[in-house]
Amino acid sequence: MESPRQTTLRTPLGRVRGSGSAKSGTHHWWMQRVTSLALLPLTIWFIVSLATSAGMTHLEAAAWIGHPVNAVLLLALIGLTFHHTASGLQVVLEDYAKPEWVKITSILAVKAICALLALAAALAVLRLAV
């Protein structure tokens, strides 16, 4: 018996169960690109700022971090940096970490560490800015 002409790449069973694209298949990939675009100017600003003011005293550093413009840019840099870092390290672990439980555990650990580092950095900026 000849099977009917297939017009979709989804399997008949998958269609019956209603599984398939959740319309978010490229979300992780896309967010890596979006965060990288946003990080481009922010990172260059941060590197240039620090490179041209090396050896700041504690008061100078605290004043620089607490300056309203710098504080806002730093908060954006912190959030985007750790979003991008977590998703990048996730892909590396997905490729190389084996067996499966090591993969899942290490990805969760990376996400937890990135979230905590981002919170700590953001709190530090806010303490100096507010």
Binding site: T52, G55, K98, A121
Partner: protein, 147 residues
């Protein structure tokens, strides 16, 4: 052939025309593929510098938290960053950051559909390497002048 332990192995298992199972190589095939071409070497370096920069980001957190904690904590960071090992680490992070930034821009061009032909790939690869060297040197020049 024994049963597979890992789901990824399923993609490596094939059958010969006589029906016997055979383990097929995955791409890139490590035995015949020269991993030290500029294309693959830069690809691996992009990952490595991304991982290295993660530690640089942790340094940034230490610096910020120390600045918020007070002069004593800040003194420790400044001492470490100014030490021999600290400067070595910072130089590594600077180079990794510039490489990852420039190679990242190269990736964004690829994502947009440009620069896929071999000549352009090698040209942009060389540009990333030269750019990394120049920008790292300029960053440290600025750093040493302002120190």
């Amino acid at each position: 052939m024994s049963s597979t332990q890992d789901a990824n192995d399923a993609t490596m298992l094939g059958r010969r025309t006589d029906g016997t199972q055979v383990r097929r190589p995955l791409s890139p095939h490590l035995q015949v593929y020269d991993m030290m071409q500029m294309t693959s070497a830069l690809s691996i370096t992009h990952r490595a510098t991304g991982i290295a920069w993660s530690f640089g980001a942790a340094l940034m957190v230490w610096w910020l938290v120390a600045a918020a904690s007070g002069p004593a904590a800040f003194g420790w960071v400044q001492w470490f960053l100014g030490s021999f090992i600290g400067i070595l680490v910072l130089m590594g992070v600077t180079a990794a950051a510039w490489f990852h930034t420039l190679a990242g821009v190269r990736h964004l061009f690829w994502d947009a559909g440009y620069g896929y032909d071999i000549q352009t790939t090698y040209k942009s690869g060389r540009a990333v390497l030269i750019g990394t060297a120049v920008l790292t040197a300029l960053t440290w020049l600025a750093l040493l002048i302002s120190w």
